[in-house]
Amino acid sequence: MQWFDALIQGILLGGMYAQYALGMALMFGVMRIVNVSHGDLVILLSLIGISLASAWGLGPFTVMVALVPLAVAMGWLLQKGILNRVVGDDPLPSLIATFGLSLALQNLMLQIWSANSRSLPGGGIESQSVQIGGIYIGLLPVIVLAFATGLTWGLDLMLKRTRFGRALRAASADVEAASMTGINARAVYASATAIAVGILGFAAVFQSLRSTVAPADGGAQLIYAFEAVIIGGMGSVWGAFIGSMVLGISQAIGFRIDPGFGVLAGHIVFLLVLATRPQGLFGKA
């Protein structure tokens, strides 16, 4: 029972990680960019959300309605202003640029919000739970998992079925051939990053509901997203989702073995996958 409980809690935790990992998988899949500032963007959006909530007394889902469009705009600007200048065959320039951005964002957040931890008041949903067969299941984690599943499903459908999705997959397969077919790769990239960061608008609300956030917290979120993407297989949307579940379950089981071992168990599974199946569970060799 204890292990079944760990499995359930792990899957629910995976729902949170999936919301970080989707955008990272998208950006890596299309542009081969590892966005080092990914976690800092979640924190920045969280802090903006918390400030909005306290200034106007907004509920979490109203904050979400404001935050997601803001996140989309931030992603679009990030690509247009910075990443389109450094994207290319060489992964180093974009790595350096996003690393620099990460440092800049952290300092900016410290200036504005100080180093204190804050969280978003959820009006009670963060503490509600139901008991099913001896296992307590939190309402918020279930909502998080439902959003993660919906976002993954929607993103996958968009990639498969829409004009934009086809252009994005084409640019990801061969950007030069895509331009020879009339695709403006930079415009496609801007939309891809807008979506990737837009998803972080959802993640930010949930992250700040389920725990506290402080300006220096971005690094951990980046690592979890990165590990989930690697475990699942770079550049695949459902792969990132499953990778997030594997990471969440590993951490939950590790936590049952020893509370200090939870996060480390996730790192170990990540390293095992990297060593034995570097293309990820769902990646092509």
Binding site: R163, R166, A167, R169, A170, A173, D174, E176, A177, A178, S179, M180, T181, G182, I183, N184, A185
Partner: protein, 242 residues
Amino acid sequence: MTAALSTHGLVARYGDFQALYGVDIDVAEGEAVALIGANGAGKSTFLRSIMGLLPVTPDMVRLDGKPIGGTPTDRMVQNGVAIVPEGRRLFTGMSVDDNLRVAVDQADRFGRKGGWSLERLHRLFPILKDKARTQVQNLSGGQQQMVSIGRALLSQPRVLLCDEISLGLAPKVIREIYAALPEIRAQGTAIIMVEQDVGLAQSASDRLFCMLEGRVTLTGASATITREQIAAAYFGGSHAVV
């Protein structure tokens, strides 16, 4: 008659290495010209320069007399120039249908009209209908080449550049693919084809250009050019014509 597409003293370089030294080639509406030359002569470089994949100045490439050299590649396609690139360059991991629909999408996006539709392409290459859902990396070379040609046609080009579409294909497949060219031309589409097979180049084109080390060394009507002229242009003056 003004040329549909023409180049004027086109030069191209890769860093310090100059690959093209002033190339003048032109093609009229509905005309097919062939470009032949040894490996490394600069044929692909020439086509890539037209497509805006290498830096050239505006007046080096003219479309209907208007200078458009150096236009970004995607805008070049919008302007009506499409390429079947060397090595086919299909979108791996995507189905035949999706590869083709990418081109349809972009033509729709810019309201480009022309005679080509998926249905018509399926009549031209029926196998593409049977294989619609197959991922392109699982096709035979000939089928892949048909997808690459189809993708270019669905951009509704007025000028079609083809880079060695016969390379590595069986003679029967080559005949099948070349049999499609008259229908493409009948539409008014101008074709510049790079071709290694000199006989094929001669029979499928109206005029022929031979390139050697970045320069055009022979120009003439395909029907009247002799084998000796081609051999001399192909290998350069220092090689005796046997």
